[in-house]
Structure formats: structure tokens, C-alpha cells
């Protein structure tokens, strides 16, 4: 059994395997086995046993989510593969789509079969051209081989798979905004309920899953839910693509068991540079809260990061050391979130640019004590926003106001100590 069920066969240069090559490595066997020997409900049960939780950030139990789909749909229903990946610090889905597109596609085909979905749409962000080519190639090969397409799946109505290349907007990754985008409208999130499983794409039952979530599925079926779960070192099952960027010696992605302590994750990335001191790290992409030294022994999984006071999110770590101004880093982060607001609701559309401007003001030596209060008030408004964008946006800010309080004070006292102003 490979140590790395997701990326064990990925080539170093990320060129994808052809279908024939991939089959020789055991590819599509889980799919073949599932549709011939198992029932959809047995597949869902295996995914539940595996303890798989969504890798798109929210960590919803995947098997439970699939169970919301109607067992007896009276028309088309949809699985949407979320390959939007635009949150800063994330580069895991790109790796999977580029290097192991057949694994992603096989996972999607199994998932669609288990939840009786008739259509799969793979949604890939515009900037990921190599990923688009690799996924399109895999779809083409699988269709020619009769694995997907009209009437392909034994005993079922076949599976239509298509690829949608987006045109660059972070909010499209939010699942209901993604549905709007596919319907050809501005990607503004929808109200829930109704949840997508009740009424999603074109009003039909729909499930949205992250690329990595689906890539886990063939491995789960190959080794069994319990064995796959046991790969995790803590409560959460399986392996995970972790990645580290920022102030480490060897930034990059790698696969490791869920629950790997943060310290080990940072060490795999070469650790901090000589003489540098850890200022803080975001454990789960830009929309997670800052942690520090005290959390280095916490297991990196959903429970572990929550207990430590942050969020596991996507498990992609951004490291800050003491060589950069944390206030400027926060300004950069909030500028991103402000720019990517879809503009639908006021706290986010007007509030996030305001936070970015205040933070940029601190960097220019124009910060005032009352601005700290204003920043906190914006954070407190996040729960009233219409979707998860603003709550995510204030995670680094709210935690940063506490963790980097000294840096804010220094800016108030006499400008940026890092000499940025």
C-alpha cells in the first residue's frame, strides 16, 4: 500500500499519465469494482466509515453530504467539481488536477454514481490552463474508453462530464456562487435553504465537492473505509495535501497523514530560515486565523486547529517570520478580500475596503488608536454578511489584531518599525 494514495504516482514534472498508463497503475479499478460489485449506498457507507471531511475548507463530512442527494431522482442531477482554488496560499488542487487528473476524474465518477448524479461539471479557474488541459484530456480518454458518457455506467443512465473554465473571480468557489456562475449569471451567492441537494444547478439536486475531496475516494474504496481512516493520526481520517508558503526554506506541497502536527508540517518545508523567528502562521489558507509558537504541537486536522483557536481550512499553511511587517501583511490580506467581494451585501462590499484602507493607513504612519476599534467593529459585523466570504476575510484580521498588538502599538508610537513608511 502506497504511503501517498493521492500523489504517490504523480510525476515530479507533473505531466499526467495517459489512461493506459494510469490503468496499469491500478487506476479506475475502484470505479470498475464499485459499479459492478457494490451498491451506491455501500459506497456512501464506505466514505462515511472513512471519516472523509471536505477538503474545500469547511470540512463537512462527505458521505453525509452525498446522502442528502435523492436516491431516486426524477430527472437530471449534478455533481460539481470545485477547482476554483483562488484563495491565497492554496496550491493543492492545481497539483492534483495537473498531475493526477484521472484520479480526480475517477473519484468524481464514483461520487456521481453513488449519489445517482447524471452530470458532472468540472469547474476550473481561468489561470489554471495546464490543469484545464490535463482534466480535459482525462475526460476525453475516459469517454473514448466508455468509462463515462452516454450509457457508460452499467445499469445506470450514463454520466455526462464537462469542463467549465472560469474567468477569474474568487467568489465563484463558494458553492452557490459557483452554481450561479454555471447558470451564466454574475456569481453572487444564493440564500440557503434551499440547499443545493434540494435545488441547485438549474433547480436540480446538486452536490459541490472540492477536487481533493474527490481524489480521496478511489483510495477509500481500494483499501476500505476503516483502513483509510486509520491513516489519519488523529480524529480525522486519511491523508491530506499540505503545503507551506512564506517564510520557510523549501515552500511546497506534500502529502501527509491528517493530524500531522504543525511543527512537522513546517519541518517538511525546511523550517524557518536561519535566525528567523516565527511571527505567526495561517494554518488553512488566507481565510484562517493566525496561530503561533504555542500551536506548533497541535495536530493539523479539523478538530486540532479548532481547539488551537483557528481553522483547519484547506490545510495550506502561510508562514510569517519577524522579517515582515505583520500590519502590512494584514493590509495585503484585506485588500485581497476587499477586491474579491462580490458586492452583494454592505458589511462586506463597503466594510472590507474600509479595513484595507485603515490598515494601509497604519503602514503610512496615519493610524490612530480609534482605528483599532473600527477594525474590531468590522470584524464583529462578519456574521451578518450574506455568505462565508466576509467571515473568512476577518479571520486573519481579528486574530492578527491580538497577535500583532505590539506591532500596531509601535505603528501608533512612531511609524513602521520595519521601515515601510
Amino acid at each position: 500500500m502506497t504511503e501517498a494514495p493521492l500523489t504517490g504516482h504523480a510525476r515530479a514534472d507533473r505531466t499526467p499519465h495517459t489512461l493506459a498508463e494510469w490503468r496499469r497503475l491500478g487506476g479506475w479499478e475502484s470505479f470498475d469494482h464499485a459499479v459492478r460489485e457494490r451498491t451506491p449506498d455501500a459506497v456512501i457507507a464506505a466514505v462515511k466509515d472513512a471519516g472523509l471531511r471536505g477538503r474545500g475548507g469547511a470540512g463537512f463530512p462527505t458521505g453525509v453530504k452525498w446522502g442528502f442527494m435523492p436516491a431516486d431522482p426524477d430527472g437530471p442531477s449534478h455533481l460539481l467539481v470545485n477547482g476554483d482554488e483562488m484563495e491565497p496560499g492554496n496550491f493543492k488542487d492545481r497539483w492534483l488536477m495537473e498531475a493526477v487528473p484521472h484520479l480526480v476524474l475517477e473519484g468524481a465518477a464514483i461520487a456521481a454514481w453513488a449519489m445517482r448524479a447524471s452530470h458532472v461539471t468540472i469547474f476550473v479557474r481561468d489561470a489554471y490552463r495546464a490543469a484545464q488541459r490535463a482534466m480535459a484530456g482525462a475526460v476525453e480518454e475516459a469517454r473514448e474508453a466508455g468509462l463515462i458518457g452516454a450509457g457508460a455506467v452499467p445499469g445506470e443512465r450514463g454520466l455526462e462530464v464537462s469542463l467549465h473554465a472560469s474567468a477569474g473571480r474568487y467568489i465563484c468557489g463558494e458553492e452557490t456562487a459557483l452554481i450561479e456562475a454555471l447558470e451564466g449569471r454574475r456569481a453572487i451567492p444564493r440564500e440557503k435553504p434551499p440547499f443545493p441537494a434540494q435545488s441547485g444547478l438549474h433547480g436540480r439536486p446538486t452536490t459541490v465537492n472540492n477536487v481533493e475531496t474527490l481524489a480521496c475516494v478511489p483510495g477509500i474504496l481500494a483499501e476500505g473505509g476503516a483502513a483509510w481512516k486509520a491513516r489519519g493520526r488523529g480524529e480525522d481520517g486519511g491523508t491530506k495535501i499540505f503545503g507551506v508558503s512564506g517564510a520557510v526554506r523549501r515552500p511546497g506541497p506534500f502529502e501527509a497523514p491528517m493530524g500531522t502536527p504543525a511543527r512537522e508540517v513546517l519541518e517538511r518545508a525546511g523550517g524557518l530560515r536561519d535566525g528567523a523567528r516565527l511571527a505567526g502562521f495561517l494554518p488553512g489558507g488566507l481565510s484562517s486565523g493566525f496561530l503561533g509558537e504555542e500551536a506548533l504541537d497541535a495536530p493539523m486536522d479539523f478538530e486540532g486547529m479548532e481547539a488551537a483557536g483557528s481553522q483547519f481550512g484547506t490545510g495550506m499553511v502561510i508562514v510569517l517570520d519577524d522579517s515582515v511587517c505583520p500590519v502590512a501583511a494584514l493590509a495585503n490580506a484585506e485588500r485581497f478580500f476587499a477586491r474579491e467581494s462580490c458586492g452583494w451585501c454592505t458589511p462586506c462590499r463597503d466594510g472590507l475596503p474600509w479595513t484595507a484602507r485603515l490598515l494601509e493607513g497604519f503602514c503610512r504612519g496615519e493610524g490612530r488608536r480609534e482605528h483599532l476599534e473600527v477594525l474590531r467593529r468590522h470584524c464583529a459585523m462578519a456574521p451578518h454578511a450574506f455568505c462565508g466570504h466576509m467571515p473568512g476575510a476577518v479571520m486573519p484580521l481579528e486574530s492578527g489584531l491580538d497577535r500583532f498588538a505590539d506591532a500596531f502599538e509601535a505603528h501608533l508610537a512612531g511609524g513602521c518599525p520595519w521601515g515601510r513608511a
Binding site: 491565497p88 488542487d93 481561468d126 489561470a127 477569474g168 451564466g184 508558503s245 511546497g252 501583511a329
Partner: protein, 153 residues
């Protein structure tokens, strides 16, 4: 100037694939227009909207929603420089300043000779090779970013 025949044909095909529902093909249609003409002019927008059976306003509301659909002229070389946090930590600001100075334009602008356009982009999933840049949507290694300005058109 009207759309080239191949793009027109492609857009008709996209609409057909969506059972005549032009809206569903709109983003892909705009991407095709851009692939052929670098950006989406008013004339091309109008023609595309007609081919899709949409109003110009409907199509423009989509075109302007997406950061990577360009409604202003784009030069022969499009350079997208990541401005998100990991790249910022790796020195993207200095690189940004150098590109700006070399070309004498700001980000969001095109050189007068129409050769280069500079655009900021959020994280392109290459934070481990920061600072990251794309040339016409292909990733370029950090060391090569400035060389982008040297090789011919």
C-alpha cells in the same frame, strides 16, 4: 472590426451545445473572443451578445464581473503578476516596481507601442515558487520574470 469567422462559428457551436441557451455559453464565448482578439471591444461584445441571444447589457454585466475578461485593449504580451500575501512576502512589490519602471506604465495599463500590458492578479497557486507571474496564462519561473521583457514578440 468584426469578429473573425472561426470565433463566430465557435460561439454558435457553444450556444448549440447548451440547447440554444446563450447565457450558459457566455463565459466561454468571451474567453474565445479574447483568445482571438486579446480583449473584448464594444463592437465584439455587441456581436457576441447577438450570437448568444443576449442583450449587450446582460453580457457586459458578466464581462465586467470577471477579472480576466478585459474590456480595454491588451498588448501583445500580457504579464500578470501575483499580488497576494505569499508572493508579497517573497518580494513581489520590488518586482512590480521594476516592471513598472522598465515599461513606464502602471499596472492596469498598456505600453504605447501596444507590446506590453501589466495586470495584477491574485494568487495563481504557485506560492511555492514566489513571486509568481504568468505570461499569457503560462507560469514563468521567478528568475525569468524580468527576462519576459527581453524576448521578442
Amino acid at each position: 472590426m468584426s469578429l473573425d469567422a472561426a470565433t463566430r462559428e465557435a460561439i454558435r457551436g457553444l450556444r448549440k451545445r447548451h440547447d440554444g441557451e446563450g447565457r450558459l455559453a457566455a463565459v466561454e464565448a468571451l474567453r474565445r473572443v479574447q483568445a482571438a482578439h486579446r480583449w473584448v471591444s464594444d463592437a465584439h461584445l455587441a456581436e457576441t451578445a447577438a450570437l448568444l441571444g443576449m442583450t449587450e447589457a446582460e453580457l457586459d454585466s458578466l464581462a465586467t464581473f470577471y477579472s480576466l475578461i478585459f474590456r480595454r485593449p491588451v498588448g501583445e504580451r500580457l504579464i500578470l503578476l501575483c499580488d497576494s500575501l505569499p508572493c508579497w512576502m517573497a518580494g513581489s512589490e520590488a518586482l512590480r516596481a521594476r516592471l513598472r519602471e522598465r515599461l513606464g506604465i502602471d499596472f492596469g495599463e498598456t505600453t504605447e507601442d501596444g507590446r506590453y500590458t501589466l495586470v495584477n492578479i491574485c494568487c495563481v497557486g504557485a506560492c511555492d515558487a514566489a513571486p509568481a507571474a504568468l505570461r499569457d496564462f503560462a507560469l514563468v519561473a521567478p528568475a525569468e520574470v524580468e527576462a519576459l521583457l527581453e524576448d521578442g514578440p
